[in-house]
Symmetry: D2
Subunit: 327 residues, 4 copies
Amino acid sequence: MTREIRRLGVLTSGGDAPGMNAAIRAVVRACVHHGIKPYGIREGYKGLIDGQIEPMNARSVANIINQGGTLLKSARSQAFRTPEGRQTAFENFRSADLDALVVIGGDGSFTGATLFEKEFGIPVVGIPGTIDNDIFGTDYTIGYDTALNTVIEAVDKIRDTATSHNRLFFVEVMGRDAGFIALNSGIGCGAEEILIPEADRGIDHLIKSLERSDRTGKTSSIVLVAEGGKDGGAFEIAKTLEAKLPDYEARVTVLGHIQRGGRPSCFDRVLASRLGVAAVKTLMAGNSCVMVGVRNNAVALTPFAEAISKHNAIDDELLEVADIVSI
Amino acid sequence: MTREIRRLGVLTSGGDAPGMNAAIRAVVRACVHHGIKPYGIREGYKGLIDGQIEPMNARSVANIINQGGTLLKSARSQAFRTPEGRQTAFENFRSADLDALVVIGGDGSFTGATLFEKEFGIPVVGIPGTIDNDIFGTDYTIGYDTALNTVIEAVDKIRDTATSHNRLFFVEVMGRDAGFIALNSGIGCGAEEILIPEADRGIDHLIKSLERSDRTGKTSSIVLVAEGGKDGGAFEIAKTLEAKLPDYEARVTVLGHIQRGGRPSCFDRVLASRLGVAAVKTLMAGNSCVMVGVRNNAVALTPFAEAISKHNAIDDELLEVADIVSI
Amino acid sequence: MTREIRRLGVLTSGGDAPGMNAAIRAVVRACVHHGIKPYGIREGYKGLIDGQIEPMNARSVANIINQGGTLLKSARSQAFRTPEGRQTAFENFRSADLDALVVIGGDGSFTGATLFEKEFGIPVVGIPGTIDNDIFGTDYTIGYDTALNTVIEAVDKIRDTATSHNRLFFVEVMGRDAGFIALNSGIGCGAEEILIPEADRGIDHLIKSLERSDRTGKTSSIVLVAEGGKDGGAFEIAKTLEAKLPDYEARVTVLGHIQRGGRPSCFDRVLASRLGVAAVKTLMAGNSCVMVGVRNNAVALTPFAEAISKHNAIDDELLEVADIVSI
Amino acid sequence: MTREIRRLGVLTSGGDAPGMNAAIRAVVRACVHHGIKPYGIREGYKGLIDGQIEPMNARSVANIINQGGTLLKSARSQAFRTPEGRQTAFENFRSADLDALVVIGGDGSFTGATLFEKEFGIPVVGIPGTIDNDIFGTDYTIGYDTALNTVIEAVDKIRDTATSHNRLFFVEVMGRDAGFIALNSGIGCGAEEILIPEADRGIDHLIKSLERSDRTGKTSSIVLVAEGGKDGGAFEIAKTLEAKLPDYEARVTVLGHIQRGGRPSCFDRVLASRLGVAAVKTLMAGNSCVMVGVRNNAVALTPFAEAISKHNAIDDELLEVADIVSI
């Protein structure tokens, strides 16, 4: 089955992720390649409701592959959660005479896309763009690899200064519900301990770990904390620990939105380029309400319903590696 | 089947690759974890012949995960290619009372390891460490991801200055026999054309591509050249092109050994940590003459014979993506 | 007047600063150049008391010019604040047969050095090494330039994501008593507002500034906060502001010790190389209790007493520039 | 004396330099601050002749302070070297009703500006923007500090791999007539030898230096070569040296236009912000045909005639430091 598409809209939705621009660029140029006219929708679903829809071409995405953020901007839209909002969005969509939609974002964005498709029959394909790597159906989300590098580059600098005895550095990273960033960047930066939602062994385990470090001659320790764990953020845990181990001096870094920006890594740019090209092909092949992802190095499709409801689990092998290499 | 190992040697061999230190660290700490005494052999096979074998411990690999190069240094050894050289190496190996060997390097290093195992029955496991990503049996070699980032960061800077009309930038990257670096970094940096050994379409195709860029309004173009292609390096191609297209002003950058160094990316550090831990486990499980790699996100074993003789092919999907996104 | 020096000790003291290694390297190599035997004292004054004094040579400082932190480590020493501690330090100094001392650190380190010179007549020269740039007698301290770059690289990433309306980013930087980091990195990163101890115009001024930004069409704002200002750190100010401006969503980043590490910038490496060479010359010329700094691009000497008691003032021109360019 | 300015044009000319955007931004916002209407002229003098003059405002320079290159683009203009070309430029200037001009560029750009002022009485002020730091009247040109960091970051990576014996790395940097980049980045990266036009001691000195390195135990050496020296570029010198020292294996890196791009350093951003603000003030104060620079940390004016005809000399102190720290 194939679908004829004359005009295609693309938008970015949800939190920014490095590589979103590379995905937009790939969608736009794949359209040009296939004779489809690409349109950019600004500020996500909000812009669809506000009618911010503009024609793009191969040159309008020049020199953006290396830029963080998103050229089309992203915004939250309460209005799109209402039937009235989606109705207005649909009317703008039709006024612009668009045939299909590519949504770059996270699972919240795919939920909105699913409703839009169900209510108005708009063919829509999703591209996973979020630093959290928490979307089922793809081994990697766009922006995740860059965020990992951002975290380890920051922690590398802390390591330079970690020469005094009994000094403890807490670094809070993103990942409210998913510990992928904390676990992988924790291995990557050589953290002595990693606190993630999926395998939070509590403050007492942390204390034991620090005592072991002390015995084995470590002069200082770096602890990575995923935001929103059960023991609180980095500042809370640092306070708790200082109360229990008064010899230790704790220093806290909260990386915050730094993790959402920055020039995308090569991995993210290539991933985004592949998925952008694949999204257009997938729409042309007649699919809808599916996400294009990468599984086992090949492009793979996952229905939105599955991408939203299922979750990638933390790999036990990685947890074991983290334990072993932090000895 | 399991093998008892009391003392294990580890060496790095061949060209440096970022992440080798992370692999050494993981091997050493996995040994400590399993009650094995780790020994570092300096300067690869050369050091094995010279008797540069020293005990290591968890602390001797502290603060190296973020360093490029290799703590154990790497060197070429003509002597190890001779039976006499390997005999001396074996005697040193036995004097140090080592039971097994981990070799971090490329296919040349695995060839040496194979001979060493055959002649003296030393159990040996390999870890793929090379920026070229040209080893069969693993989706990624250690150092490759970092090298890609190094290339795109360099080319990003060139892109900033590429504002004048009819300006042509040639950037020569590594990859004498394999175009993985050029192809992937070429997509990542948004190169207008990528010249790789596996799919070299010649100067004439390049000229056509530049003429197309001109028509579509590109003001300047960046061409990635893998060293050692049939039309020569970047300087040669630039000269040929300027002769054929006198309106163009060509500028050349030769990245050279910059690509072999630098702080490893998070991807390479995690990969190296996983493979280091897996190498020790693999030896303990009784295997020998195999390489530990990562395939489809899981650790996988490949016999040295296969890793050496077979080659990863360039993915057609990527070639197509490269063509489409460079419109 | 000249002084004959046969053996010279060098130590780093106080908080780490990028470029300290380059300064150590320059001191050691200048010694070698002048026929003086260089000795490294580990962990600052603490190591002097503990007798951690070791001979160095041109090769022992190889490959450190590009490393953050300090090879000789730094530590605080309560003991050195006591006459008994300094007596022990002096005995170790004499046992090692050292003739002179170079101290790399901040004003606290120079205070200790002054006492050591007064009590025991040890010739000592200081090199200003601190990221805060708050030492009188030098236009730049070693590490300051690198810290500025660290801050702006972090904030650049935040800027990528600052696309939504009414979003407010607070970034807390170091500088308890001196706003040099906040003011200069604030200009460098294009902060909308900069809160520094020397010119803290209070929350109300910040609110007015945000309202102006709103009127002139800014979609989001970045506020740099020097730690320890009168309105508290970034988290406190963010809370106060969200209470007063409920439409704004505030996001907080606390950079912390990231600012003390990282590869030194070229500026800091050259500065450290110049000052390290100058420190040895200054001792050879018979001086003592002086700091070598750079003023108006030339090496300049300042007595410790002056370097400790006086302070560089924030330049009014810079404050005005900050106001104008943040329109 | 003061001059009333209602509308002011700004252009960038000559080779790109990181920080030019920060300077444009400062000029534009200083105009807004003083009630002057700012106009951007694209592609330098070429755009002035072509009539590419557009109004700007505070928002049109948003989010550019951290970008390399120049928003206004830069181009060479043969036409502006002719009286006819300048006449057309003047007519466009008058049509746009502009009162004054700010030129950001190098000495070639100031030569053009001088003619334009003489022939048509247009008040013009220059801002030194070039990576070469070769303009008299300012201690630093915009872009120079960033270029130094670009070079040392590249060479740092080479240093990681420089572990084998008798290996020699040649790195060619920019600076056809001025060795500032080579000398300062050479000190910064710890180069064993630096070949600059101003103090080229020839191949024989280089050979002696390598022999000394050999004796003192250096395993490998890095040589920085300023392009266009009397012994040729890095490739030529490498060949000559390999012929004379067959034991050495030479590796060459040519950085090329990488040095002109990249995100500007904090130093360059602050410098550019100060000079942009100062340029507008200088015009308002009634000056013309002068360059605003920074001398001894303060803004200083230099007549174009002097800025063009005189040259900064290489500092002997730095040459001595380079010799000492490379021991």
